[in-house]
């Protein structure tokens, strides 16, 4: 399978099939809170995508080099210290602590950077940035990356290098953005509807999310079938090339 198809599969899988909101339920708070207007939703989605990418980069790097069992930096320091016990150092218990600080720091960093260099962009979605610290999408993506980081070969089933982690983060962010923008469009419409009073606000939003989740179930299995398709389409070409008799044989 080519690199491009891997990317495509990861994108489809994380944005459509295993959509952050509709499949994993993460990011529900902003999904309900900041989905009143399309432009605001778009700002929120963009901000999340941006921060999640930065956070993914940082957390992958830290996990790979420091936190994961057998991380090279930690191991080096460990050897230099020459402790009496010979066990491999494992700092993975610190993961959650480190991630949440990485996220908080990334948010600060992004905020400062944007305020300084893109004031117009800051105006557009600066207000959402502080909210993102407690957005579960970011932490969820970091945790997902953690599952796939293993500096020791064979320690995790499907190890990701940095590129895959970043692609996953961007696609997860875009999936969140898709969900929240679609929801905002629907909610703008909803303001003109005569929704029963007890269901107004979060109630109807959740109900719509339910219907959307139903709709998104239609994509189930798409990644697997596409993967099969890519594999099989790669094969026959090779086979055809080798079995085709030369038509203009000398």
């Amino acid at each position: 399978m080519s690199y491009l198809s891997t990317v495509l599969l990861l994108a489809i899988s994380s944005a459509l099939i295993n959509n952050m909101v509709f499949h994993f339920f993460v990011g529900c708070c902003p999904f309900i809170g900041v989905s009143r207007r399309v432009d605001m939703a778009f700002g929120m989605g963009a901000a999340v995508t941006f921060v999640v990418t930065v956070a993914a980069f940082l957390s992958w790097t830290i996990t790979w080099f420091v936190l994961a069992p057998g991380a090279p930096l930690t191991t080096a320091v460990w050897r230099w210290l020459r402790p009496p016990s010979s066990a491999t150092p494992d700092l993975s218990i610190l993961c959650y602590l480190v991630y949440i600080f990485v996220i908080a720091w990334a948010v600060q960093l992004v905020e400062m950077y944007i305020r300084k260099f893109f004031p117009s962009l800051y105006k557009a979605f600066g207000v959402f940035l502080p909210l993102i610290t407690t957005n579960c999408v970011i932490l969820f993506v970091c945790l997902e990356i953690m599952k796939h980081v293993g500096p020791i070969p064979g320690s995790v089933p499907d190890p990701w290098r940095l590129d895959k982690a970043l692609i996953y983060a961007v696609c997860a962010g875009l999936g969140f953005m898709l969900a929240i923008v679609v929801m905002a469009g629907l909610r703008e419409e909803l303001e003109l509807c005569d929704v029963p009073a007890p269901l107004k606000g979060p109630g109807i939003t959740l109900a719509i999310a339910g219907i959307l989740a139903l709709a998104f179930l239609g994509f189930t299995g798409m990644d697997a079938n596409l993967a099969k398709r890519f594999q099989s389409s790669a094969l026959p070409e090779g086979v055809a090339a080798s079995t085709n008799p030369p038509t203009h044989a000398p």
Binding site: V38, V181, V182, G185, L186, E188, E189, L190, L192, C193, D194, V195, P196, L199, I204, A207, I208, G210, I211, L212, L214, A215, F216, L217, G218, F219, T220, G221, M222, A224, N225, L226, R229
Partner: protein, 341 residues
């Protein structure tokens, strides 16, 4: 005096003329225009019922009492739910606008002949409740109610509505002893001949088997302007476009014509996607909606775990309608209005 569902529209009360001698009769005062075309919501819904007639006929001819059973269950459940939910909100139930009946019937026609009673009943109740009532009733729902109900029932009862539910030899009907054409093609690459596929001598949901019947009824609706022709046209064109990279058709024997005639594509394009409430407002939006629907159907059929994608495609496109509407605000003749402030 009329009552608007959004609260009373301010109107001058009817005035009795205090006029000189020749003016005797009472005249009423109302805003213009004072003439009205002979169209009504009820008539549009009745049109849909007429359009559905060929499908119902094929369904009954092919699946006999099982088709009647499904239609009765779903229609009754829909009408009863409509009444119930209207009562719960303390609103008068508008059963005579026929919209609940249409929803029930459209749902029933998308069920397999052998579906158990609760599939239609739960589906129709959910269609009216979750699909319509919680949004405020007729005209305000954001998703096609019948498809919401169908999706809910299908995900709830995979054994009763999934691909395997279509094969039920115990019904004693020849058509349902083998898998539906789409399932047969997707799972084992088996191609149903185009003739029976188009005419409807195949297995499938009771209303979807005959592309011809759907085409006849659908053209009637388009001719009556009850259904916008742009949506089916867009869907068919998009399916055709999808055939170019092999998304539709795709096999050497499974052609574009197969994809167009198989499953609920025609039924969905003409009867479900054209639901005015949940489709875009402008012609341009309708083209986009139809094309998106066609593409999604092709994609889901080809790549997802499900053999058929009409229902999911409708729901996904429904969700996009507000964004489509937003992007296709027509420019007034003479250009956009100058911003005064």
């Amino acid at each position: 005096m009329t009552r608007s569902p959004h609260g009373p529209v301010p109107r001058e009360a009817a005035v009795t003329a205090s006029a000189p001698a020749p003016v005797a009769p009472a005249v009423s005062v109302a805003p213009g225009p004072h003439l009205h075309a002979a169209a009504s919501t009820q008539r549009m819904m009745a049109d849909v019922l007429v359009g559905l007639a060929p499908l119902v006929a094929v369904a009954v001819a092919q699946f006999r009492q099982h088709a009647l059973f499904q239609m009765a269950i779903a229609s009754c459940s829909a009408v009863v739910s409509e009444w119930l939910f209207a009562r719960m909100r303390g609103r008068p139930a508008t059963l005579w606008d026929l919209s609940a009946l249409v929803t029930g019937l459209i749902l029933a026609l998308s069920l397999p002949a052998g579906a158990p009673w609760y599939a239609g009943a739960v589906g129709a109740a959910v269609a009216i409740g979750l699909g319509k009532a919680i949004f405020g009733g007729l005209g305000q729902n954001l998703f096609n109610p019948a498809m919401v109900g169908r999706a809910f029932a299908m995900i709830s009862f995979p054994a009763a509505l999934g691909a395997s539910a279509y094969v039920s030899p115990s019904l004693g009907i020849e058509a349902v002893t083998s898998a539906t054409p789409l399932t047969a093609f997707k799972m084992s690459g088996q191609v149903t001949p185009i003739g029976p596929l188009f005419l409807g001598a195949t297995n499938g949901s009771i209303g979807e088997t005959s592309a011809l019947a759907a085409l006849l009824g659908g053209l009637y609706l388009c001719f009556r302007r009850t259904a916008p022709w742009e949506i089916p046209a867009g869907a068919i064109l998009a399916m055709g476009a999808a055939a170019l990279p092999g998304l539709a058709g795709g096999g050497t024997t499974w052609t574009l014509a197969h994809d167009l005639s198989a499953g609920a594509f025609m039924y969905g394009a003409f009867f479900i996607a054209t639901d005015p409430v949940t489709s875009p407002l402008t012609p341009r939006g309708k083209w986009i909606f139809g094309a998106g629907f066609g593409l999604l159907v092709a994609m889901i059929r080809r790549f997802s775990g499900y053999p058929e994608g009409v229902m999911f495609a409708i729901l996904v496109m429904n969700a996009l309608v507000p964004l489509i509407n937003r992007g296709t605000i027509p420019v007034p003749v003479g250009g956009p209005a100058p911003q005064t402030r």
